[in-house]
Symmetry: none
Subunit: 227 residues, 2 copies
């Protein structure tokens, strides 16, 4: 059982770690929680540590680690009244389907090689929890056939984990020169970044490291055939 603030902080740390791999500093956490003094953060951190949700190295900068993740389900809005956020019990809810499903927003289409089409109105896609790991995810409809040899076809839905961290050989959503987002294999080569399509008809593209920003990595895929 965490208090509202503790929960809020834990979620912030989690997300930050998922997305960048770098622990937030007290200063950053202070801002994220909209506080004006770091001492408050310090207390929250101690509380989280005491309760076993995080681990840390005292006196070390940015040395936080999440041991037990906060509930990832809903967005921000915990019940407005209570000051405490109950934790879901492991036994969970009976055979209720809800527990096995995660709802993720459909952010638009990603055309391999063409700008991403942002989608304002959030279409929501329920996805089996088993398909995703921890972290925040969103879906993109794949357009184009540049990843066809990786079994990713035009019209498929790519389930993407939001993160800036990816290893060589993983399929990522890469933002090229701040302009176009594309789904490709990521590869680093002596300081440069190469985006490899999975289609012999397309050429790998090489960029300077600062031209590419990884926005997420492929975590799952959905496809429907015509009924």
């Amino acid at each position: 059982m965490l208090t509202r603030k503790q929960h809020e902080l834990l979620r912030f740390i989690q997300t930050r770690l998922d997305e960048t791999g770098i622990s937030p500093s007290f200063e950053e956490m202070k801002d994220a929680l909209d506080l004006k003094s770091k001492s408050g953060v310090h207390r929250l951190i101690s509380a989280l540590e005491e309760r076993g949700f995080i681990r840390r190295l005292p006196n070390r900068a940015r040395a936080l680690e999440v041991l037990r993740r906060a509930d990832e389900g809903g967005q921000t809005a915990p019940a407005a009244n209570s000051n405490v956020v109950p934790f879901a019990k492991p036994e969970a809810t009976a055979p209720a389907p809800a527990g096995d499903v995660i709802e993720i927003p459909l952010h638009g289409r990603i055309a391999a090689g063409v700008p991403i089409e942002a989608l304002e109105d959030q279409a929501i896609l329920p996805v089996p929890a088993a398909l995703l790991g921890p972290g925040e995810h969103y879906a993109l409809e794949v357009s184009g056939d540049s990843m066809i040899e990786a079994g990713i076809l035009d019209g498929d839905f790519a389930l993407v984990k939001r993160t800036e961290i990816a290893n060589d050989g993983e399929i990522v959503v890469a933002l090229v020169r701040g302009e176009e987002a594309t789904l490709k294999y990521l590869r680093r080569e002596n300081g440069m970044i190469r985006l490899d399509p999975a289609n012999a008809a397309y050429e790998p593209q090489i960029y300077a490291a600062n031209e590419i920003k990884v926005q997420g990595k492929l975590a799952g895929l959905l496809r429907r055939y015509f009924h």
Copy 2:
């Protein structure tokens, strides 16, 4: 967990080790991090070692080993009771999931060309309703690469609609001579039935109409990438 520099260095080491198998030297790391002195690298290495991310042999050249990769979540709490199970908030979110999800049984694996492995204990897979049409469905884990050119990979989950009716060109679960079930393109040719793999390495197979029984047709596909 890590500071920006520590993270940056760890990733460099990782990648370097993945690609060449040889540890970078301090000099190389210095350059990679754009530093002008090796002492900085030394400190970072110590920090990484202290935090358990790498191991090294002191005084030995190029003797680094990555113990824990940068993007891997924490040390997966050895909690016996996996409260790792993702939960959905009871109150749930706006677009009520229940109606958007259908639960289908996982019936086992279907090896393209090899008998189906029936699975007694029903694993249940919740699937977005949007992926399926009307009718009864079940899931099969795909084994083998005979449909690889159709974007169906080993390990994917095929969502199958139970039906005996299928049109030419559709992908079906076909029971061959009452023995083995296989996932293939269906084609009819003057009274005979041809099952086409989607892999140039495999041959189409032709059967008498009464040797083949269509058990279902492919309605959807799920895939997960390593998390």
